[in-house]
Symmetry: C2
Subunit: 739 residues, 2 copies
């Protein structure tokens, strides 16, 4: 679906007030051809808006006024003229998505939402910015939980990648469900950025992908005030950003007088709407305009002070004695927006109704997607235990077996990889790549926008940040899967975190975990990373020990509709334990793997190290006459959610027998459950996987005598003696027994 004049006419059928088509794309100068005959009105809105922001920050002596003030004219262009949305129903499915990637300028969004009539953004709420109200809808950065906010932003650069995900969502849904004369999805994504978002690597990664995918339904609006916290942005960035964006496959439009030229900005936005490529609109603005900190870094993140706020109003010809003043004229200027939004939504509803008549089967699926539901029969695509391999299998392979079937059959699954297709085993039958048809035609490759297999390139961070955008498009419409080596989810950590913070369900497939990954060496062997993801709120880090547990991990991840999951998998083959392992057990976080009522010790086994744990149990029995039970512990957070009784039944603290955990990661956090551990005390080493394990002491013949010594010690000293004396049974930092 190439954009065209018709396309534009079509999207403007909801009576957007502007129908003029700009004549130049990619021009260096502002494009002319349209005059909005409302300059006077714009002027008073701009002044009112800016004075109000100054008041808001002055109220509690803090906040970010300068950027928002500078961006006022951009807001008029978007909220009054060009953006397709409905204040009455912020969630209307085919709305344009707006991302404020420079989230610290949130007052820009809040105040425009108030002016156009979003119900929740009352005057009282507006004024709760930086207050001590715990029910504020005006937090310091936009938060997805609140009406009219598409994604939570703040950590810079994330929003750019989120916007790419949102635009992909539209492209994919449009290509999949639109039919001639029945355009059910065709919204734009508008992404506002400041000077930082394209300094951040994640923004640059995403920009490269958007250009590659020719996401012409995406526009970045660059609030180019050229001021950052350290002063002129030039102090650290003097690149030619326009040329850089063009080199990445973007159209570029300059607007030089973006502090007031609403018409120019409107034209640029309309041009973006009919572009063949994503569009970068470089809008020069003036930070803190009207204040004494005009064009100064001081306008960025602090209130102006009482005097200066008064002076701002005087400069604007407003009454310095009045605060939070919005005249009826200003409100009435935006009067038409609500009605227009309702008409846009009604028009879309009609379109969908017609569509249901013409394409009932497709419409049924489409409505399920709109409702954000999994296909009802998804559970049948999860292999049963007896369909899973019984021979030693790498859990990354098991994950492929489980996920491929889901991917083939569930249209909401979007499988992605950071260039590790041959390693992560997620390519599935009849897989189609997500690609621009233009690209495919030019390169002789396959794929189009209906494709559900995404090559993110070697861009782990953008992959996960884009994935957040895909989910945020409409919760449940997509269940994206990302994939790379577990170690490289450290690159993606800021985005994984934002997914958890926002409750954006997705599945991160993290292969090659622990030191078992082998020869690639310490750079590729995660040691500390699990501590981050186990501590992260609203994230499930699941480390299954065999194929059955992998199935359990997927079921858990799919059922966690407001929580992202990381499924942590081995490179190497793992012994399968169909006699012990349980998908239901995974869902409870930990469970009894091998029971022994006469146990002297409980061993906690996890993921790729379960084999060693079971073997150690056998050796303890055979060589030392020590009975051990084994607990499988794939997910700490799920276990924490269990009842106290269940926990006791699994770990049997009351038995007074010690508990030893075996995992080739840093121990941090296991002290909650275990009395002693065999873990990693240093970074790893480049050795074949099995040799690496041996090198670091993960060998049953080495572990068994250590555990025996520990069990003997506990028998002698009593289990009470273990308090405050967690035993590291290997490594140089251990103390106690070995000393």
């Amino acid at each position: 679906m190439a954009p065209s004049l018709e396309y534009y006419e079509d999207i403007s059928s909801g009576e957007l007030p502007i129908k003029a088509i700009p004549t130049k794309i990619n021009g260096v100068e502002a494009i002319s051809g349209l005059q909005l005959d409302q300059t006077d009105k714009h002027d008073i809105v701009l002044k009112t808006f800016r004075a109000f922001i100054a008041d808001l920050c002055q109220q509690f002596g803090g906040g970010h006024p300068g950027g928002a003030m500078g961006m006022a004219a951009i807001g008029i262009a978007l909220y009054k003229y060009v953006m397709k949305y409905s204040p009455t129903n912020a969630g209307y499915f085919n709305r344009d998505r707006f991302v404020l990637s420079n989230g610290h300028t949130c007052l820009f969004q809040y105040l425009f939402m108030h002016l156009v009539g979003f119900k929740s953004m009352t005057m009282e709420q507006l004024k709760s910015y930086h207050s001590d109200r715990t029910d504020s809808l005006a937090p310091g950065h936009p938060e997805i939980e609140n009406e009219g906010v598409e994604v939570t932003t703040g950590p810079l650069g994330q929003g750019v990648a989120n916007a790419v995900g949102l635009a992909m969502a539209t492209k994919h849904l449009g290509a999949t469900y639109n039919r001639p004369g029945h355009t059910v999805v065709d919204n734009m994504t508008w992404c506002m950025i400041g000077d930082a978002c394209l300094q951040e690597g994640v923004g640059l990664e995403a920009v490269s992908l958007a250009g590659h995918w020719k996401l012409n339904n995406l526009a970045i609006l660059y609030d180019n005030n050229n001021i950052t916290c350290d002063g002129s942005a030039d102090v650290a960035c003097t690149e030619d950003i326009n040329t850089k964006m063009q080199a990445c496959g973007w159209n570029v439009i300059d607007v030089y007088d973006g502090d007031h030229n609403v018409t120019g900005i409107v034209q640029a936005l309309l041009t973006a709407r009919i572009s063949q490529k994503p569009t970068f609109i470089n809008i020069r603005t003036i930070i803190g305009i009207g204040s004494s900190a005009t064009n100064n870094a001081k306008a960025h993140g602090a209130a102006f002070g009482v005097q200066d706020v008064a002076q701002i109003k005087k400069n604007f010809g407003l009454d310095p004695e009045k605060h939070f003043e919005i005249s009826d004229d200003v409100y009435s200027f935006f009067d038409d927006v609500k009605h227009r939004g309702e008409k846009l939504e009604a028009a879309w509803n009609t379109t969908v109704e017609d569509y249901e008549v013409q394409y009932p089967a497709l419409a049924k699926e489409f409505k399920l997607r709109v409702q954000g539901k999994m296909p009802e029969d998804w559970t049948k695509f999860i292999p049963s235990k007896d369909q899973l391999p019984s021979k030693p299998t790498a859990s990354r392979k098991s994950a492929g077996i489980v996920c491929n079937s889901l991917a083939e059959n569930a249209s909401n699954f979007l499988i992605g990889t950071a260039d590790l297709t041959p390693s992560v085993n997620l390519a599935y039958k009849q897989q189609q790549d997500f690609q621009s048809p233009d690209f495919v035609a030019a390169c002789g490759m396959t794929g189009d926008y209906t494709g559900r297999y995404i090559h993110y390139g070697i861009r782990e961070h953008a992959m996960c940040a884009i994935s957040n955008g895909l989910v945020a498009f409409n919760k449940g419409t997509f269940l994206p899967v990302t994939s790379t080596f577990f170690m490289f989810y450290i690159y993606a950590a800021p985005a994984v975190r934002m997914g958890a913070l926002q409750g954006l369900q997705q599945i991160h497939i993290a292969t090659h975990d622990s030191i078992g990954t082998g020869e690639d060496g310490p750079t590729h062997q995660p040691i500390a990373l699990p501590a981050l993801y186990r501590a992260m709120p609203n994230l499930l880090y699941i480390r299954p020990c065999d194929s059955e547990e992998v199935a359990g991990a997927f079921i858990t991840a799919i059922e966690a509709t407001s929580t992202p999951s990381i499924i942590s998998l081995s490179r190497q083959n793992l012994t399968q334990y169909p006699q012990y392992s349980s998908r239901e057990g995974v869902q409870r976080g930990a469970y009894v793997f091998i029971e022994d009522s006469a146990a002297d010790v409980t061993l906690i086994g996890i993921g790729s190290e379960m084999g060693f744990t079971v073997q150690t149990r056998e050796l303890l029995q055979k060589e030392y006459n020590i009975n051990a039970r084994v607990v499988s512990f794939p997910c700490q957070r799920l276990f924490e959610q269990q009842s106290r009784e269940y926990k006791e039944s699994v770990l049997r603290y009351k038995s007074g027998k010690p508990i030893v955990v075996i995992e080739a990661y840093a121990i941090n956090g296991w002290e909650r459950y275990a009395d002693a551990g065999i873990s990693m005390k240093s970074f790893g080493k480049s050795l074949p996987g099995a040799v690496a394990y041996k090198h670091f002491g993960f060998e049953p013949s080495v572990m068994a005598p250590k555990i025996k010594g520990f069990v003997d010690h506990v028998k002698l000293e009593g289990v009470e003696s273990l308090r405050g004396d967690f035993r590291d049974l290997n490594g140089s930092m251990s103390y106690g027994l070995e000393h």
Copy 2:
């Protein structure tokens, strides 16, 4: 010091074999003007090299052959002709630095090191690649511990930023210490990359900075084989990389036949040497050249198989029956390299000797820098306790007080910030920015290459990866300080980790920690991140509670010469405890803050939450007649290094009294030391800092009764009952008392 022909002549005085000056810079086509009359010899070296790599990977059936084979001609150009280095003394100070950012092609480096005669890289060592030898000097990725390796690489993109740091180091030292006719530092940095390193955000951030700083002593050699794991690199990247690099301020040189055109590559490298900007050399190569996987992703990360290895040799006219064959001709081709290196080093030594005579004071300082030593009197720049503020002070301010004096006086301190100068308080008196003199002249700003204050822009990841490069230039020559909000060290985590892995001392100043940062909200409030850094091997995460502890944190960080430190600091004012706090205590990780021999409970207080802890202690006494002692616990890793006796003296487990930790982070890891905790169970919230603390229960009047209940419970049930029953005294996931 602008580069010039003289400059080039000067650096080539060590008898590099090439003196021709190329005539074109930034040309689109390969530059002509030089013919190396050794094409036949190159041909046999290329074939031998490629067959040998195939043998190496075949030996143990794994590894990364394809890229290294493709890059062979680049290696000849570098190692035989252009690079200034000495195989006899890999550490010679003024050597060119070589970074293999595409570290998986390590065999490229290992084999050339062998051919030119690096002592450690024997045939036996070469063949230990992917073996089970724990003393291998040929690990799966280059490791800094080994001779001839400047930085450990593997996680893609890092090397690009490391190389920027290495080039900055040269620029800074040159500008600071070189005098007319006495050039003591002027080496180049050559950075080899593959298709991934400029897809990764960290690479792109670093590239932008290198262009801004006009680091003309830096060249990127792009091994453009256009193949990644997923196939053609085009599948995810179709940008115009040359234009992009030019837009970032780089010269661009194309080499189209880089698989064999040694002369063309040499010319490009020489052109880079005299460029006014950093140079990007786009060299087209052929992955897996000669194999059946030529130009195929299969050549990337797997052995070719016995048959194909034989076929490769046949294709090259070599004997398929012979393995690991290197003829005398091939060795002798590199014969001159060693001798040349020795002469280069000798010439440098003479230069330094003359310099010592002419500039004795400067030379004394320079030699200290070469030896990697702090100024001897550094301790006198650390304020004593009575010089520190006694009124409530934000610990970020305390850090400024301690660090500014060091920065003013210690020439090895390089202070950097990711655009948070007004927030992190690290700007010091007479601070000079690190900037290109050209830029300064053009913009009317201040600074030059002697500057020791670095504006990294909003590029946290590149900041820390560049910092790694600065340290790696020569351990101890620089002690870089980076700074941003603690939360944004999650962006930098991959680089912070590489610093820890490589033992690269530096200080990361992480301000605005915990929920006390306030209104910016959950996006800016770290909860899980401390768990990562506390678990990370060879990293000190230090969270001081007042100015005295901040001084202790700096002393600790400065004395940890092979370990990076993160000093975690508050945005808000903190009560100062000169009567309790101790810099020596910080160095032991934890210490008794307030002793009470009759204590019913030990409270662990940390960093910004110490004030609440002390107040809670007072309230427990006053309201509930419960005696509490307080332990300050700024650093878990340092505490782990203490003796068992010391630990017991601090935490007094044997007293049988319970221990409660109070910290506004995820609890994970504290279970090792405490029996119960008041911590964060969710992400934070946008509220004024003090209100946020209150909202999440960090209020003495809320905490005291909870702790009282817990103490009562322990009295009743006995301390033994706490095993396996860690108490979360707040939050929805707690169990036990509250149920």
